[in-house]
């Protein structure tokens, strides 16, 4: 009897499975598959890029970041700055409404900026986006008056991620614990349904003041497994995927209904080979600095020789299957105008590398194939570490071992837990070489800071590099208001660190994305940057008839 009940249950389940017809996400909804999911929908607390993707779609901010890296005004129709550069007046467009029908005014903008400024628990705000904010006020002309403590050159990139929130919702909530699942915004898409770690479903806001979408909505679905992501686009379960294993790229390219886009991402990442070159005099002992780096790495000649012995193209071909560009400094090509493209990379030339080391007095005196220090004290054997969650690093380590082996340099490769590696790295400087990476902001300041002497005790500096000329330029560009002058400074800074061989940058990763051509048209694929899930792309899509 009991068994019969069970069989009935199973039969019923199978029947349901057979007749269920998919459902949801009708004709005009773009279905996007991605490997991540937002950490939180509270814009102050969010850290992950997936959260910011959703904020871009659901909220508006003062500026919008374009695909070519430039900015245009979004919520404001005009922006004026006082002669000394410290008082900004933004005229907010009239007639904008929140998704719940309430009007969006300068009061909401001022409220949001003050919220970000005055909540120290918001990880990026005080330290990075609002440190120069003195006061934020609004007036009856629908204007926001932002007074800065000092003039800064990059107001656009400071404001672009400060999403404007509805005061009438937020003033009643706990600013830190509020999960914001209803997410009332003003942007081109409205929050319809959010299931954490499963999907985000957005509906179009056809009344949006500047970019009303043509599709009915967008769905972001989380795939914990990248093979499933590839399989989902092949079988048409999603219309677009924002990432994939590079190994899948060739197969997807052959599918007539799928198109592949490879290019610089909107938030570019950079992979770096870090040399511990901290001067023992700069060792941040108070912060736990041990500074056990190999002395040879403090010699520019050694780093230069290693650069000449690094076949970046081979690394790209083997590790990324060709989907990347050789790198120069921490400032990636994806940063557009800020990227110094006039620098010429050190050519791959093993003989030259050997010559440099010979001339500098590093000889293999005991004939074991590994060179020793000029005073014969110790061999050029370096510890090489990488975070154990890196997919690319193990293969890179193997290749680097072969490449540098040709110039008499030996490696002791060892993967490390990312936490342990942080503890070992900075500001401890208890390593020789690390393979790691950074994520970038549209403004170059954040990554340029990593090379400064100031950043050594804070753990941002990974190399311990210290150059007063560079430090001066860094401070000047922070406050230089003329765009051209600031860009020249930023380019000069890249030249300095490139010539000092502070890092070897093996490559800048490319974004590999794919979309189906049979359901929507209008994908942007020819811009400087490629981000199919960016709001700029999504508002242009149209269903195929």
């Amino acid at each position: 009897m009991k068994q019969r009940v069970l069989y009935t249950f199973v039969l019923a389940a199978l029947l349901l499975a057979a007749c269920g017809g998919g459902g949801g996400g009708g004709g005009g909804t773009v279905r996007i598959g991605w490997a991540g999911s937002p950490d939180t929908l509270n814009p102050g607390m969010a850290i992950l890029v997936e959260a910011y993707t959703i904020f871009e779609l659901v909220y508006d901010s003062m500026y919008e970041l374009n695909m070519d890296g430039s900015f245009t005004l979004s919520l404001a129709e005009s922006a004026e700055v006082s002669d000394d550069g410290t008082v900004w007046t933004f005229k907010i467009r009239d007639g904008i409404t929140w998704h719940d029908g309430q009007p969006l005014t300068a009061e909401d903008v001022a409220y949001s900026y003050n919220l970000y400024k005055d909540t120290p628990e918001y990880p990026y705000m005080n330290g990075y986006y609002t440190p120069y904010f003195d006061t934020v006020e609004f007036n009856e002309n629908n204007e926001v008056i932002l007074t800065l403590t000092e003039a800064i050159p990059n107001i656009e990139s400071q404001l672009v991620f400060l999403y404007v929130l509805p005061k009438h919702v937020w003033e009643n909530e706990n600013k830190i614990e509020y999960e914001n699942f209803e997410m009332i915004g003003s942007g081109p898409f409205k929050m319809a349904e959010y299931v954490q770690n499963e999907f985000v479903r957005l509906e179009s806001n056809k009344e949006h003041f500047s970019t009303p979408p043509k599709v009915d909505g967008v769905v972001f679905q989380t795939f914990a497994n990248q093979d499933a992501l590839v399989q989902a686009i092949r079988t048409g379960q999603v219309d677009m995927i924002t990432e994939m294993p590079n190994t899948a790229a060739a197969a997807l390219d052959e599918d007539p209904n799928i198109e592949l886009v490879v290019g610089a991402p909107l938030a570019p990442g950079v992979t770096d080979i870090i040399f511990n070159q901290i001067d023992p005099e700069n060792c941040p002992v108070d912060e736990g600095g041990l500074c056990t780096g190999h002395p040879a790495l403090r010699d520019r000649d050694v780093r230069l020789a290693m650069s000449h012995a690094t076949d970046k193209q081979q690394l790209i071909d083997v590790v990324l299957l060709g989907l990347g560009e050789p790198g120069l400094t921490l400032i990636p090509d994806g940063l557009g105008v800020w990227y110094n493209d006039s620098l010429v990379d050190y050519e791959f030339d093993v003989a030259k590398a050997n010559q440099i080391l010979d001339d500098a007095g590093y000889a293999d005196t005991n004939g074991d194939g590994v060179r020793e220090m000029p005073d014969g004290s110790q061999p050029l054997t370096f510890r090489l570490n990488w975070p154990s969650d890196s997919i690319n690093a193990p293969r890179m380590a193997e290749l680097l071992g072969q490449m540098w082996g040709q110039i008499g340099i030996a490696l002791e490769p060892q993967a490390a837990d990312p936490d342990a590696l942080t503890a070992q790295c900075c500001p401890t400087f208890d390593f020789d070489i690390i393979i790691w990476g950074w994520a970038s902001d549209p403004d170059p300041s954040a990554l340029l800071y990593v090379y400064t002497t100031d950043s050594i005790p804070y753990g941002s500096s990974e190399t311990g590099y210290s150059n007063p000329v560079y430090d001066d330029l860094y401070n000047q560009q922070q406050v230089e208001l003329d765009f051209e002058t600031r860009r020249d400074m930023v380019w000069e800074m890249q030249r300095i660190v490139f010539e000092d061989v502070v890092y070897i940058i093996p490559f800048y990763d490319a974004n590999v994305q794919a979309f189906r051509t049979d359901r929507f048209t209008g994908w942007i694929t020819d811009e400087a940057k490629v981000e199919l899930s960016d709001v700029t792309s999504l508002v242009l899509l149209e269903p195929v008839e």
């Binding site: 499975a17 914990a224 790691w436």
Partner: protein, 342 residues
């Protein structure tokens, strides 16, 4: 009377084990190197001050434990702090109030987060277990009844293969096959399905469950078939089965009334233990099919050093295993009155 006391003793032991898990759970994650406030956020935009604020918010600025001078001759821990102001004390106090803390990663209460995930896991693994038991027992009985025939050898071979298949590998093969047949490869429901009528919503979930459940069923079915078969083969060689045959009972009656009950004992043990681990949520299957269960929560939490979620999940699993074992003991006495709780 004796029985009650034995039962109480078993309960006490279970509680003691849970207490041990609670303490172990706390220290397990804190002996890991590194700093959860820093983990996963490698970004020059995150300034030192902001990290300090995060530390304070999660209580990581407090000492882990007081040295407990009187109890602890080696004096590990900090002797100069108020024992009531240590991470350990706060952890235990919150636990007693049913609080598992706040997830470092998502800023949500862990209890809420795990509750969502737990239900999904129970749904998936529950269906998988039921199917595995039904098919496993059925095949096991057939194999045993036709022992040493081609059918038996085939069933044993197939079960051995199924049991030894790596779960994630089988999952990926089924994923490739199933996506071609139109089965969804990820998630629990189609986004937007919540707007459909209830019956269609269930249908949608059933379609999403198909591949992960199939994977689960195949893997566990093999185990159950083998155990059922060998146990039943044993029982069928007993004299009382011969007697039953001599009485002229039908095959079905012999199996149902005389053989099965006795043969079920070993299987019950295995099922009960498996059910306990059910809460752990067949981590590999959830990872392959992006099933939003407890297993994927654990994987994510490990990657993000999300200690509160890990602590909560491990506690949940430990409690489930302990309860399942307790239930197995009790079921034993029901199935076979000769077995007593000693």
């Amino acid at each position: 009377m004796d029985r009650t006391r034995a039962l109480l003793r078993k309960l006490a032991w279970s509680l003691f084990t849970i207490l041990f898990v609670i303490i172990l759970n706390f220290f397990l994650f804190r002996v890991l190197p590194g700093d959860p406030a820093r983990a996963g956020i490698r970004d020059p935009r995150l300034k030192q001050d902001a990290i300090e604020v995060l530390r304070v918010r999660f209580g990581l600025d407090k000492p882990v434990i007081n040295c407990f001078e009187s109890l602890n001759p080696v004096k590990f821990g900090d002797c100069n702090v108020n024992p009531l102001d240590t991470q350990f004390f706060i952890y235990v106090r919150n636990l007693l109030q049913g609080e598992l803390g706040i997830s470092y990663h998502s800023n949500r209460p862990v209890t809420e987060l795990l509750a969502e995930r737990l239900w999904n896991t129970v749904l998936l693994i529950g269906a998988g277990q039921i199917l595995a038991i039904i098919f496993g027992v059925t095949f096991g009985v057939f194999a045993a009844w036709r022992a040493r025939t081609a059918l038996d050898y085939g069933a044993v071979m197939a079960s051995l293969v199924a049991w030894s298949l790596p779960t994630f590998w089988l999952g990926i093969i089924l994923l490739f096959w199933g996506s071609g047949q139109g089965f969804p490869v990820a998630g629990k429901a189609t986004p937007g399905a919540s707007t459909l009528p209830l019956l269609q919503q269930w249908g949608d979930i059933a379609r999403h469950m198909f591949l992960p459940t199939l994977t689960y069923t195949i893997v566990y079915m093999g185990e159950y078939t083998l155990i059922m078969r060998s146990s039943l083969v044993d029982v069928l060689s007993e004299d009382y089965i011969l007697t039953a045959k001599a009485k002229g009972l039908s095959t079905f009656q012999i199996l149902k009334d005389h053989a099965m009950k006795n043969a079920m004992l070993p299987l019950v043990t295995v099922i009960a233990i498996n059910l306990g681990f059910t809460v752990a949520g067949a981590i590999q299957i959830e990872a392959v099919f992006s099933w939003p269960g407890l297993g994927s929560a654990i994987v994510d939490a490990v990657n993000r050093r999300d200690f509160p979620v890990l602590q909560g999940a491990f506690l949940l699993i430990a409690v489930a295993v302990i309860i399942a074992n307790l239930l197995a003991d009790l079921t034993y006495t029901l199935l076979d009155p000769r077995v007593t709780v000693e």
